[in-house]
Amino acid sequence: MKKILFYTNQFFGQIGGEEFAYTEPFVEEGAKGPATGFMAALPDAQAAATIVCGDNYFAENIDKCKDFIRAQVEKYQPDLFIAGPAFNAGRFGIACGESCKLVQGELGIPAITGMYEENPAVDMFKADCKIVKTAKSAAGMRAAIPDMAALAGKILRGEKLGLPKEENYFPMGKRVNVFHEKNGAVRAVEMLVKKLNGEPYETELEISTYEKVEPAAPLPDLKHAKIALCTSGGIVPFGNPDHLTAASAKFWKKYDLAGMDRLESGKFESVHAGYDPVYANENPNRVAPYNVLKEMEKEGEIGEIYPYLITTTGNSTSVADATRFGKEIAEELKAAGVQGVILTST
């Protein structure tokens, strides 16, 4: 029989209200609080134990509480971890989210919880575990239990889960590939007919809106500034020693240019699959104009050129990876005392 380990707080664990919010975590064999409701809805499973912990204690002693939960998971070896539901309770929401993240992410055991959509913990943890949508307050327990139990049952039986709206949990925000019955052109024309007729239709991708990057203010004194050259044009030392990919780069690299006045053809090349590399291979400075910067340095127009090339391939690179590269590169350059950056793209 499959075993479930439960987590709840002082209130639902029937210890008491706010005055017991500093209760240290303890565990009781079997089902306690909402767990009894879940077990009634899951006759094929067994309640291993219920962990109860005060919300304030959890918030102020997260590492200790996680150690406690880890120990219980090791002891009871559950097949599923159910926390909450936390409804709109902020601290309890975080406790449920943190414990599910630990159990599923670190310990590899499926973990689910339930919350109201405005609970801040939803956005914090929806990518880490399945959070079932619930009502705002504990008055919604009667509805939350069957919803969460239905999901729990599917997980325990190893069934394939439906889409978030079918299973009533908050989307993790993860895009996964699926195979449709109709090809993209058929779906596109059907969507167009609906849109033309003013009928409801569902876009297959919700558009993201991006923060606009304001151009930086000009440097007041270029003659004393240290300037670095970065490129997303995939210029690398000939032979591509670090195997930078032609597309979907997962890293950026820094190459020492000390003693060089330009990027020589035959010593550098492009590995970028998003443009015609012939001209960049003939003269890599066309993409990463190190020669011009060095001339300006010699003529005294720029104080100093940072003697490295910072490079990656900006081709099918995900926004998340590109954002991470930007942060890492900025840290590196700030530490090197660089005041300005020329970033070339292709």
Binding site: R175, F179, A185, V189, L196, E204, G314, D321
Partner: protein, 427 residues
């Protein structure tokens, strides 16, 4: 204008002599084909192979896929071989349905991909369901990359046309007839139905990033009106452009899934009144100019709605978005087709550019997702080139012969005329 497509179904290919079609079997003569190809002195050597659906066969690196089509009067692929070209799209065109010429050989650039005839990658594209006459081409040493691409492109088209001529002797074919009028006739054909225009984006950005319209580089044209019929006749061919997953091969032009689908609804749900070809250029200035010219032509056609298909990804997403935005601002209801680069884990934002008006999107999947492909009994081409192409890495080839690739390494893996069943959902 009327075009009759006579489709001869091909379900098998064999080598033999003389070249002919027997039932649904195409028989081709390698010696004869080699002779045709070596007429181009830039080709050092050429050989041929066959890849059939369901077999344990991998073709790599694939440059183009072309459906054999030929005309008794007039010519298919007009403008590619003769100066005195004729407009495509009228008369009778013979098509070898279910069969393609596929070009491979040493790599030209990073944008060449994989076709598996069975296994998980076969689910991602339509190519795995076709019979491939594979041509492996080697260029002379003096031929530079741009000319290499041209040699391979023209060789593939030439072979497709020559093989297509074998259909002339066939009496067993199915017929599809398409008609296309002038703007006024089209406009008035179904006065009570909303009018729809198809915006046909095509990559126009340099080596392995071009398309060819009547044999001319699409970089040097402005957005222009097309007839669907000339597309069926090969007026637009692939310059073997962009990443394999989103590459519009010549086959995908000839069998454009959007045009096919728009015709199906034409006269029932809407009036399909035109196509505007929009070259996707590199600079922002060109993107804005092409937006203006494309939207103007869509408006001149009197459109109420528009469908935009895509090619490539990254900077072309800007073209897709700004054209969509401008069409919507002009009251033209628009649906777009795109793929996504949501990262290997699917957790990133999907698109590199966006406008709020893009509220009706069909997605052909996350191209960053990875797939482990089983080893195949036979590889046609150069397996090791996977390390250099889009979607591959130096770690792609596993010690046991399996292949780890991203979806956009699979030819047509997220085809942007929507000719794939792949899509993506949020979980």
């Amino acid at each position: 204008m009327v075009l009759e497509l006579r489709k001869v179904a091909i379900r098998n290919i064999e080598f033999g002599s003389p070249a002919r079609i027997e039932g649904d079997k195409l028989i081709v003569d390698p010696d004869e084909m080699k002779e045709w190809m070596l007429e181009d002195s830039r080709i050092k050597d050429v050989s041929f192979d066959i890849a059939l659906p369901g077999t344990s066969t991998r073709i790599l690196p694939v440059k183009d896929v072309i459906e054999p089509r030929a005309k008794i009067e007039g010519e298919t692929f007009p403008g590619l071989f003769r100066e005195d070209m004729e407009e495509g799209g009228s008369g009778v065109t013979y098509c070898l349905d279910g069969c393609v010429v596929t070009t491979t050989g040493p790599i030209v650039g990073f944008q060449e991909g994989v076709i598996d005839m069975s296994g998980p990658a076969a689910e991602y594209n339509v190519y795995s369901k076709l019979c491939h006459l594979v041509m492996i081409l080697e260029k002379q040493d003096y031929v530079d990359p741009h000319e290499h691409e041209k040699v391979v492109r023209l060789a593939g088209i030439k072979l497709a046309r020559k093989v297509g001529e074998l259909a002339f002797a066939c009496e067993d074919y199915t017929t599809e007839t398409y008609e296309w009028g002038n703007i006024g006739e089209n406009y008035n054909a179904y006065p009570d139905l909303p009018r729809v225009v198809y915006v046909y984006n095509c990559m126009s950005q340099g080596l392995l990033h071009d398309s060819y319209f009547y044999g001319r580089d699409s970089k040097i044209i402005v957005p222009t009106m097309l007839t669907p019929l000339e597309i069926f006749d090969g007026a637009l061919v692939s310059g073997n452009c962009v990443s394999p997953g989103s590459k519009t091969t010549t086959y995908m032009h000839q069998n454009n899934a959007c045009i096919k689908e728009l015709y199906k609804h034409h006269g029932k749900d809407f009036n399909f009144v035109g196509i505007v070809l929009c070259p996707l250029m590199t600079s922002l200035k060109e993107k804005f100019r092409n937006r203006m010219l494309t939207v103007r032509q869509v408006k001149m056609l009197g459109a109420d709605g528009a469908l935009i298909s895509q090619e490539g990804f990254g900077n072309p997403t800007t073209d897709l978005m700004i054209v969509c935005q401008e069409l919507e601002r002009n009251g033209i209801k628009t649906v777009i087709i795109t793929n996504e680069d949501a990262g290997i884990d699917g957790m990133s934002e999907s698109l590199p550019d966006s406008v709020p008006e893009a509220n009706a999107i069909v997605t052909t999947g996350n191209s960053n997702a990875t797939l482990m492909l089983p080893a195949m009994d036979k590889t046609i081409g150069v397996l090791k080139d996977i390390e250099r192409v889009c979607g591959g890495t130096v770690n792609s080839i596993q010690p046991d012969g399996r292949l780890l690739i991203e979806i956009h390494g699979i030819m047509g893996g997220h085809n942007l005329q929507g000719n794939t069943l792949v899509g993506a959902v949020t979980i």
